[in-house]
């Protein structure tokens, strides 16, 4: 049983902070940033290689760097950070002790050992199999082993989260339902269980196959189950970063959910249907029926998309409501113009919201349409799409969250505040460009994971459209911008943790437990007289863009070779 000595009261938010949980949050956040820095560097080298005028790396190094880039940022950075989010959303937001901190440390160590092992395997050069490691292409055994250790660690961390929910409820550290942000984290944790289970089911036999115990792994079955992990892990991100959006809006602006019911139902749709979208990767495979493809790829009739579109309204809506309550009521957009754009947490969060919707969200639905997928499968359109979701969406949201974690958890003030202020814009513009220009190149037919679009060494010749070279060059430039933004982030965060001015020692528990920046006016965020015209304009623009782009692609499809 936790003693009071294990807690401090946060003087800024009034939250009761369990110190062992705080230590785990710190460790996971630091590991996350380290892997972001490593993976980001690999990513930059990949983009510079794909810029034909630069063509930085030789082929072997390119495929090696691409494999490392995928694993380091798509798995290690994101999941370490998500562990921090889970511990924060459970122990800290519920004012509870963390269940089994020792298991939390075991999880952390397993994840760290796994991530380092996988990186070593890749750097040794025998495991350039890409993040997806499709069989029968074979990596070194310790590549799979590293991923398995990482996954097991993550699963333990997820169960510490569930355990904390039980502890908090049993010890009655809160009244009623868990906070919305915790509910979003719960959504992420549930998806994580399915994700990690799929990973274990497929990676353990693949590991045994790599050391010769199993003779054959069926490539189609591998692909089905692997994507249960590979795509669902990105759905953990979606749930986690939506939770982070709500958290930042609440902490920075005092925003309240427009409606608990609507926002939670939207998360409920995620829990039920989001993972089905792993089917997005199997739409042009032989031997799987169109019924399976249509049902799964559409998340059971687009109910998870409905969830996302609801968050797309309720997140900016809650911000608009909070701003209007503060008196920014002129016209349609005064609330947005006068939002705290100089606060990197808010700026990063809002850019993440807009870019996730417009770049990642719309294109994800297009890619995930059974027949339209044929136009884009395995072209650069695919990485273009997921750099819109995972980089412009998740990574930017997590970076924004860090600007709150540093003062609240590390108790340090940000160093170089001007740099921090510009960081989300620099990184956001870079990420948006990467996403757009890769999608442009993909629309022109450029393959993903491809070292040489001039086909110099090939027996036959092929000239890709000239526009593709322009796209790849612009992509390279944007990658440099994003890398600078990433560097700025690492400098600010590491600098602040090491050299930032210490914030005052934890205040005694006598401080009022209510957060000073929240002054509830109405009992429901959007209830009563509050109208949200600005948000309605934003979502209308989004909807029109969505519908138009959707049917443009059908028109494009109708122009290719008839086939059945």
């Amino acid at each position: 049983m936790a003693t009071q000595a294990q807690f401090r009261i946060c003087p800024d938010t009034g939250l009761k902070v369990h110190l062992p949980a705080q230590a785990l949050i710190k460790a996971n956040a630091v590991a996350a940033v380290v892997f972001l820095a490593i993976g980001g560097l690999f990513g930059l080298s990949v983009a510079l290689t794909r810029w034909p005028a630069v063509h930085l790396l030789p082929a072997e190094w390119f495929y090696l760097a691409l494999t490392a880039h995928g694993a380091d940022v798509l798995l290690f950075w994101i999941i370490f950070f998500e562990m921090a989010v889970l511990y924060f959303a459970s122990a800290i937001l519920l004012g509870s002790r963390l269940a089994a901190p020792k298991m939390g440390w075991l999880a952390f160590i397993l994840m760290l050992v796994g991530a380092v092992t996988a990186n070593i395997a890749v750097l040794q050069g025998e495991s350039s199999v890409m993040f997806t490691s499709y069989v029968p292409m074979k990596a070194a055994p310790h590549f799979y082993l590293g991923l398995i250790l990482f996954a097991v660690g993550a699963l333990i961390g997820v169960f510490v989260f569930f355990g904390t929910l039980i502890v908090a409820k049993d010890e009655r550290t809160y009244e009623g339902s868990i906070p919305l942000v915790t509910f979003g984290a719960l959504t992420a944790a549930i998806i994580a269980v399915f994700t990690i289970a799929c990973g274990a089911i497929i990676l353990v036999p693949t590991f045994l196959w790599s050391i010769g115990i199993i003779s054959h792994i069926d490539p189609l079955t591998y692909k089905v189950v692997w994507w249960g992990m590979g795509h669902s892990s990105q759905q953990i991100n979606v749930s986690a970063h939506v939770a982070v959006w709500y958290a930042i809006a609440a902490i920075v602006l005092g925003a309240k959910p427009l409606s608990e019911k609507v926002s939670r139902t939207a998360f409920f749709f995620y829990i039920l249907f989001l993972q089905l979208a792993s089917a997005h990767h199997l739409l042009v495979e032989p031997g799987i029926s169109s019924e399976w493809k249509i049902f799964n790829t559409s998340y059971a009739m687009y109910l998870a998309v409905l969830g996302s579109m609801i968050h797309g309204l309720t997140v900016p809506g809650s911000i608009e409501a909070a701003q209007r309550r503060k008196g920014y009521t002129n016209g349609i957009f005064e609330w947005l113009r006068k939002a705290p754009w100089g606060n990197p947490a808010f700026a990063g969060m809002f850019l993440s919201l807009v870019m996730f919707g417009f770049l990642g969200g719309i294109t994800g639905v297009i890619l995930g349409t059974e027949q339209l997928n044929m136009l884009m499968h395995n072209t650069l359109y695919v990485p273009g799409h997921f750099h819109g979701t995972v980089v412009a969406g998740t990574t930017l949201a997590f970076m924004a969250m860090t600007y709150l974690v540093v003062p609240l958890i590390f108790r340090r003030e940000l160093v170089l505040p001007r740099l921090a202020q510009w960081q989300p814009y620099l990184f956001g513009i870079g990420a948006a460009g990467i996403s757009l220009f890769m999608m442009g190149a993909g629309t022109l037919g450029v393959a993903r994971r491809h070292w040489d679009i001039t086909f110099t060494d090939a027996r036959l010749s092929f000239d890709v459209p000239a526009g593709a070279f322009l796209m790849m060059g612009l992509n390279g430039i944007c990658a440099i911008l994003a890398a600078l933004g990433g560097l700025a982030y690492v400098v600010v965060v590491v600098g602040s943790i090491l050299f930032g001015k210490r914030k005052d020692a934890p205040a005694p528990a006598a401080r009022p437990a209510t957060p000073p920046m929240a002054s509830p006016i109405a009992s429901y965020g959007g209830e009563g007289t509050l109208k949200l015209p600005g948000t309605m304009v934003l979502v209308s623009v989004f909807f029109v863009a969505f519908v138009l782009y959707y049917y443009v692609n059908w028109k494009y499809l109708a122009s290719v070779w008839p086939l059945r």
Binding site: A59, S128, V129, P136, G176, P179, P219, K223, Y246, A247, A249, A250, I251, A255, K256, L258, S259, K261, S263, V284, E285, P286, G287, I288, S290, K293, S298, M301, Y302, L306, M309, T369, Q371, M374, H377, N378, T379, G445, A447, R449, W451, A458, R459, L460, F462, P465, Y524, G526, L530, L532, T535, M536, V539, F543, L557, A558, V560, P562, L563, R564
Partner: protein
């Protein structure tokens, strides 16, 4: 706030703003429209995969492709030694993927339909037909069969767009589409 438990013990009964309800309805209906579009395209559209597939060993598929190539070979491509194969219109066309080539080169007639059989002899490959941009995933051990009807004459390139090792970026194939003689 979203970081605190809901103010009401029972929040399920709380009122929902009208504009929120409108948006939810619009988003739900749009989802149904998109779902319906996918289904409808199977009836009105000309680009749908049949998903027809068979289990096949690489040896058998290679033998069939080589037999077809020998039977219908019309010439060799330049000095590459790669046969150009012209299967009969309406008949079966075979193309195999292996490290790192698409083999053989096919010559098809515009406006005619062919049953195109594709499989891989080793790893996974990506069949990316350019510049028309049709992309399919090719697995070893599985034969994908699709009926294609080229609707424009010209030279088409098959690029591999699934990573398949160090020679991946040299893996190119070709399909000629010619007007009917």
């Amino acid at each position: 706030m979203a970081i605190h438990p809901p103010k009401q013990m029972i929040w399920w009964h709380e009122p929902v703003e009208r504009s929120e309800l409108v948006w939810i309805a619009v988003a739900f209906l749009w989802g149904l429209v998109m779902f319906g579009t996918m289904v409808a395209w199977h009836f009105v559209g000309k680009q749908n995969l049949s998903n027809e597939a068979y289990r096949i060993t690489p040896d058998v598929f290679q033998a069939r492709t080589e037999a077809a190539a020998e039977k219908y070979k019309v010439r060799e491509e330049g000095n590459t030694g790669i046969p150009v194969v012209r299967p009969p219109p309406g008949g079966d066309a075979y193309m195999l993927a292996r490290l790192w080539e698409w083999w053989p080169i096919l010559e098809l007639e515009k406006g005619q339909s062919y049953r195109l059989h594709i499989s891989s002899l080793d790893w996974q490959h990506g069949f990316s037909l350019q510049p028309t941009n049709v992309n399919l995933q090719i697995h070893p051990g599985y034969e994908m069969v699709l009926t294609v009807t080229p609707d424009a004459a010209g030279q088409f390139t098959v690029v591999c767009n699934e990573f398949c090792g160090i020679g991946h970026h040299t893996m190119i194939g070709r399909i000629y589409v010619v007007d009917k003689k």
